[in-house]
């Protein structure tokens, strides 16, 4: 039982092993996305458009996911680690959204009579 768990963990842990080259490409990608984010802040047509906030959240989510997957090895590591991170992260994000609905601007606009 324990041996099979060990073997399973061993297999999962060593399916892939990122090289320095992968890390360098990841860093380049993260740098480019950061440049795009900062450029968007200064580019008025984008910054004043309705897609600005969603696009910035999307870009930061992509960066977040890439760092977690490649640098933190969640893509390559045992799924238990992924669950230990993603589970609380989902709860945290849902709590954040819930609190914003309860106390944020959305809550104020809902509570204010038209």
């Amino acid at each position: 039982m324990a041996d099979s768990a060990h073997a399973h963990a061993h297999d999962e842990a060593h399916d892939h092993h990122p090289t320095a080259k992968t890390y360098l490409w990841t860093a380049l990608f993260l740098t480019i996305v950061t440049i795009v984010e900062v450029s968007a802040y200064y580019y008025k047509p984008w910054e004043e458009s309705a897609i600005y906030v969603p696009s910035m959240i999307f870009l930061s989510a992509v960066k977040f996911a890439v760092v977690a997957a490649v640098y933190m090895h969640l893509k390559y590591d045992h799924k238990l680690f992924r669950n230990l991170f993603v589970g609380p992260l989902v709860i945290a994000v849902l709590t954040l959204i819930g609190l914003l609905f309860l106390f944020g601007k959305a809550a104020i606009s809902l509570a204010t009579p038209a």
């Binding site: 039982m1 324990a2 768990a5 060990h6 073997a7 399973h8 963990a9 061993h10 842990a13 060593h14 092993h17 990122p18 090289t19 320095a20 890390y23 360098l24 990841t26 860093a27 993260l30 740098t31 950061t34 984010e37 900062v38 968007a40 802040y41 200064y42 910054e47 600005y52 906030v53 910035m56 959240i57 870009l59 930061s60 960066k63 977040f64 760092v67 977690a68 640098y71 933190m72 090895h73 390559y76 590591d77 045992h78 238990l80 680690f81 230990l84 991170f85 589970g87 609380p88 992260l89 709860i91 945290a92 994000v93 709590t95 954040l96 609190l99 914003l100 106390f103 944020g104 601007k105």
Partner: protein, 233 residues
């Protein structure tokens, strides 16, 4: 029930991490120190989510300035306060933190692959774990210096901890993050010192891996903070 005999390399994504460590393994076949750091990171997600929520809830509700993105004139004195956030400096510190994550993974790579024959300048540099650990610690220190500069300039411009809702939530969130970075920097300098004194090898891979996970978590938190606090008005 704890298993003690493990196949080499089990419990980490990197070859050699588990060599010479016949203990610390659970029936899952995973190193319990690594499970612990992931559990800590999970709980830290909750902490930072609560701090970010607080900031977002109070966003735009400050009665007096200075404000993050808009100029403000004090009605009592007529003093004009410019938007307080300094995006170029923060963009630079964000880049520094991203590069520190790169240095961190290269440090881990160098430790777990120590002993491999290397030729040429780049390969030798790639295998120099002391260099990458010191580089990560230095980049972390630069990030902290940028944050110290930012806080100092904010205070000089009239934004203190109790000035308004923005300042309270901003300093609390970025201060907590900065404290995490400071702890990480201390951890990194300690590892670099150990590496310099006795050398870190594949058997120490898990120790570096745990530090790296913490450091990358600090990085991903900043990725969220940078966009939510600085770039979204």
């Amino acid at each position: 029930m704890t298993a003690t005999a493990m196949p080499a390399g089990t419990g980490a994504a990197h070859g050699g991490d588990a060599h010479a460590h016949g203990h610390h393994y659970t029936t899952t076949g995973l190193d319990n120190r690594k499970i612990a750091i992931w559990a800590l990171i999970g709980s830290e997600c909750m902490l930072f989510a609560s701090l970010i929520s607080t900031y977002l809830i109070y966003k735009g509700k400050s009665l007096v300035g200075p404000y993050p993105h808009e100029a403000w004139t004090d009605p009592a004195t007529g003093t004009v306060y410019n938007p307080i956030l300094n995006i170029p400096v923060t963009s630079f510190s964000t880049f520094v933190l991203l590069m520190s994550s790169l240095a961190m993974v290269l440090a881990h790579n160098a430790v777990v692959n120590k002993g491999k024959p290397r030729t040429g300048f780049w390969q030798k540099l790639e295998g120099n774990s002391v260099f990458w650990l010191v580089a990560t610690a230095l980049l972390g220190t630069v990030f902290l210096m940028c944050q110290a500069y930012e806080f100092t300039s904010f205070v000089h411009e009239g934004l203190k901890l109790g000035t308004n809702l923005f300042s309270s939530s901003f300093y609390t969130l970025t201060g907590f993050h900065g404290a995490h970075v400071a702890a990480g920097v201390l951890w990194l300098w300690t590892l670099a010192f150990i590496d310099l004194k006795r050398g870190l090898g594949p058997a120490d891979g898990i120790s570096v891996d745990i530090c790296a996970l913490y450091w990358h978590f600090v990085d991903v938190v900043w990725i969220a903070i940078f966009v939510l606090l600085y770039l979204i008005k």
